[in-house]
């Protein structure tokens, strides 16, 4: 009940405001300056009232606004020049609407006012206008008749309402609440011709317009800025006081401290809005949708009072609408199917919001058919989003999560199969934009629950402050996975792939981005000084950001960059740090895109994540790309790659018929890949040239380590491979389209095997270099 009251209060506040505008507009119409835009505006206002009262079950109000809307449609579309004549009638409409709204305000119902006479007159006017586009006489008659009751109303209604207002002023705040349940019902059943019958004189409720103030959001933002600055000044003062130990002053400073904190809190609260602001229209939406597809649905809502920053409220509006729509469209089964399954005929959809440890959690659930994970998997495999091998490793729960993949959820076929709607990938990316998370759980036959986790506020977020090139930058903590201490960029663990550094982190290759270089900053000193790698998560990928120092974490207030700078994708905004310095906030996605970073499978282990909201399973595969002698492209699966090395040709030693290099105190046999591929013998042999370097991919072959000599290494990519087909060529597993180019996938085992067991025999022996 309470939630409905909130919606009603908001509806009333908005409607009163709009009617005031309509008043003005109708007066302009009356003066003969009708134009389409003005009529549009009046129409929209009345239409909005009609739309809202539909789901608030205010039948009379709806009937009245419906009649008004009918007349306005006609006026707007066909008989604009008749507007001045019907203006009085329109004013009567506005007045009657207002009387009804006031009645709703006091009693919560609209049944105290009989507007049937006005409705009749509106309809009569519409019929007349429809019959004869410009019928001056009749319209004037209408106008004349309409005028009387309007005047009557102003006389009768005004004095009591003024009294009511003054009384409410005296009785104080308690009466200011919009609609206390059980307050005196409007007694006004006046003469049928006077809709105008006065609202009950006993109504002692201040109109909504008095208890709500509409504030420009920019004004609130400015207040946030100022209070932030106040907090900083306060902090400095507090520090200074502690240093001086002046007891009397400490007292007043502490008071200032307290007040400042409370002020900050209060101003942040002004930006909060209940989720019901978004949910309000869902019952209607669900009902209409269900009707449209012959289903029966009951929508339950819990925790509508849960508050979020207004920016976030806007951000979750579309995703939530989408989820509710999906639940009705695809989740809930038709009545016959439900009956057959032994379920209640009326499907249940629920929305549940709650605060949970610094987050707001919103659940959208249904007791429908659930998602057929097998169907999703089959489809994913058919689309090439996962390989059959990967698919076999997925648990049903993980398989269901595949619906968040772009390729799948936009596909109608899988939608109908799986009982889940289109566009879930869009929902997911919308949420990620505001640092939110999404997860899905579904059991066939029992239903589906989608859980959203949203930060409380957009404006304040924890960030890691890092330094490079003599400047500080903030990185949103949500993107930070871990910190790795680095002993210089060329230190242990960092390997170079054609100038692009990668770091071997627990057996995975992490592409590195040197922040200083990306931003074009001057070196801070010795380039090889120790630094840190901030491991960042970008979508499903990871990258390591190399910085010189990591200072600390701070709660920062995100502020937009001005128009001159907001096109730089590397920045998400700016903030003012505790010491008052302006610091840029890095946009992790923008950085990754600038650096063209792509990584190997970020989540090699599938299914190790049942705690909290799990990562989406990574379906992409990693490849090491290199150029073949005929300028084609070849690739080695990244999970075969142990290391990448560059050896000067001068270090290559001949061992019997083969070659080897000394490597980490051992002998690394080399296999010249192109020598073992048919028709690919035109690559310069090592003996042909003594200069330059060899790209060597170190791989494991059984218990041995072998160096594959390949063409120039082009890139390390991570990709969901769509098109692939087996190859007939020996030494090539298959052909796949990677990075939009046809790429041959090397059969490592075949190549090494062909090079012969002698390779290892020799390696096992001692170094007999020639």
């Amino acid at each position: 009940m309470n939630d409905r009251d909130n919606i009603v209060a908001e509806f009333l506040a908005e409607s009163f405001e709009q009617l005031e505008e309509v008043d003005r507009d109708v007066l302009t119409l009356e003066s003969g300056q009708a134009d389409r835009a003005l009529l549009d505006r009046v129409f929209r206002a009345v239409h909005t009232i009609k739309g809202t009262c539909g789901f608030l079950e205010l039948g009379r109000l709806e009937a009245l606004s419906h009649a008004g809307e009918g007349l306005l449609t006609l006026l707007r579309d066909e008989t604009q020049n008749a507007a001045p004549e019907v203006a009085p009638l329109l004013l009567e409409l506005v007045d009657t609407l207002r009387v009804m709204l006031k009645q709703i305000q006091s009693s919560g119902k609209d049944d105290g006012v009989d507007a049937s006479a006005v409705v009749q007159r509106l309809e009569a006017a519409r019929e007349r206008l429809a019959g004869k586009p410009v019928s001056g006489v009749t319209a004037q008659n209408v106008a004349a008749r309409a005028k009387k009751p309007r005047k009557a109303r102003t006389k009768t209604a005004a004095p009591p309402s003024r009294k009511a207002a003054s009384r409410s002023d005296k009785t104080g705040g308690a009466v200011a609440s919009p609609s206390p349940p059980g307050s005196v019902k409007g007694s006004g059943h006046g003469s049928p011709q006077a809709p105008t019958s006065t609202p009950s004189p006993a109504v002692a409720v201040r109109s909504s317009a008095d208890s709500f103030v509409r504030v420009d959001v920019h004004a609130l933002d400015r207040m946030m800025d100022l209070v932030g600055e106040l907090v900083l000044s306060r902090n400095q003062l507090v520090l200074a006081e502690w240093a001086e130990h002046d007891a009397s002053e400490i007292d007043s400073v502490q008071r200032l401290d307290l007040i400042t904190s409370e002020l900050q809190e209060a101003i942040m609260r002004t930006r909060l809005e209940p989720v019901s602001k978004v949910w309000g229209r869902f019952p209607r939406l669900a009902r209409d949708l269900a009707e449209g597809c012959g289903k029966r649905v009951r929508l339950e809502m819990e925790g509508q009072g849960t508050e979020l920053d207004r920016g976030l409220i806007e951000a979750i509006r579309d995703p939530l609408t989408h989820l509710v729509r999906n639940a009705v469209d695809h989740g809930i089964e038709p009545p016959e199917a439900r009956r057959a399954a032994g379920k209640p005929v009326v499907g249940r959809i629920w929305l549940r919001a709650s605060h949970e440890g610094g987050h707001v959690t919103i659940e959208v659930g249904d007791d429908g058919a659930g998602i057929n994970s097998g169907a999703v998997l089959d489809r994913a495999v058919a689309l090439g989003a996962v390989t059959a091998k990967q698919a076999a490793r997925l648990t049903p729960g993980e398989a269901v999560r595949l619906v968040f993949l772009p390729g799948l959820s936009t596909n109608r076929e899988v939608t109908n199969l799986s009982g889940r709607g289109v566009g879930l990938d869009v929902v997911r990316s919308n949420l990620e934009r505001v640092n939110g998370l999404i997860d899905i759980k579904s059991s066939p036959g029992e239903g589906t629950v989608i859980r959203l986790e949203i930060p409380l506020t957009l404006a304040i977020l924890p960030a890691l402050v890092v330094g490079t090139g003599g400047q500080m930058f903030a990185i949103p903590q949500a993107s930070v996975v871990e910190l790795v201490r680095l002993d210089g960029v060329e230190g242990a663990g960092v390997e170079m792939v054609h100038g692009a550094p990668v770091y071997r982190l627990r057996g995975r290759l992490l592409p590195l981005v040197v922040l200083r270089q990306e931003l074009g900053l001057e070196p801070d000193g010795d380039e090889r000084t120790a630094g840190s790698i901030v491991v960042l998560e970008v979508g499903e990928r990871q990258l390591g950001l190399v910085v010189e120092s990591v200072t600390d974490t701070q709660e920062i207030v995100v502020k937009p960059l001005g128009a001159l700078l907001d096109r730089i994708p590397e920045y998400a905004g700016a903030t003012i740090l505790g010491d008052g310095r302006v610091t840029l906030i890095l946009d992790v996605l923008g950085l990754a895109q600038r650096a063209h970073v792509v990584t190997e499978a970020a989540h090699a282990e599938v299914g190790a994540d049942d705690e909290g909201l799990p990562q989406l399973v990574s379906l992409s595969e990693g490849f090491l790309l290199f150029r073949s002698p005929d300028d084609g492209r070849m690739a080695i699966p990244l999970d075969r790659v142990v290391r990448l090395e560059l050896f000067p040709r001068t270090e290559v030693e001949r061992v019997g018929e083969g070659f080897a290099v000394q490597y980490r105190g051992d002998i690394l046999p080399l296999v010249f890949v192109f020598d073992h591929l048919v028709e690919r013998r035109n690559v310069p042999r090592v003996s042909d040239s003594e200069i330059g370097e060899l790209d060597v991919v170190v791989v494991n072959y059984g218990a041995h380590t072998v160096g594959l000599v390949v063409g120039p290494v082009l890139d390390i990519v991570e990709e969901i491979v769509g098109v692939r087909q087996p190859s007939s060529r020996e030494g090539i597993v298959e052909c796949a389209v990677i990075r939009d180019r046809v790429t041959e996938l090397l059969d490592v085992d075949f190549i090494v095997g062909r090079a012969g067991p002698s390779v290892f025999a020799r390696a096992a022996g001692s170094c007999e270099s020639t």
């Binding site: 400015r222 800025d225 100022l226 932030g228 600055e229 900083l232 090139g469 400047q471 931003l519 074009g520 900053l521 502020k559 960059l561 001005g562 128009a563 001159l564 700078l565 730089i568 590397e570 920045y571 700016a574 003012i576 008052g580 310095r581 302006v582 610091t583 840029l584």
Partner: protein
Amino acid sequence: MNGRRQLITFRVGKHLFGVDIDEVQEVLTAREISPVPLAPPEVEGLLNLRGRIVTAVELRRRLGLPDRSARRVPMVIVLRPERGSVSLLADAVGDVVIVAGEDFEGPPETLRGQARELIRGAYKLPHELLLVLEIDRVLDLTVRERQ
């Protein structure tokens, strides 16, 4: 350009410029300006104006003049918030002058280069010309010197 207007005057290089006093929120001596890597060269950086983050446009670079010597501290002319939290860096700020419409004329023939693109015209003062900056064009970094 009729009637009398109040202009805030400031120097950049050897030129005297003016902007309408209604465009300006306040003038202050430069404080710490945080540079923005990858930003257009005209953007000197960001500064903290009582909790508001204000972009600083270096007029010398905007006008195609050589950089100010590092020892000289620029003045910051903060524009009205409607301009979107932007400020202009000048060498020095002078008086507010009242100018009359009849003294206004188009950009002087002698003025060349980038500056010519960014001024609306000039007022003849007793000793020199006061060049009136066209703020819209100054802030539109796509407006560059015609080749």
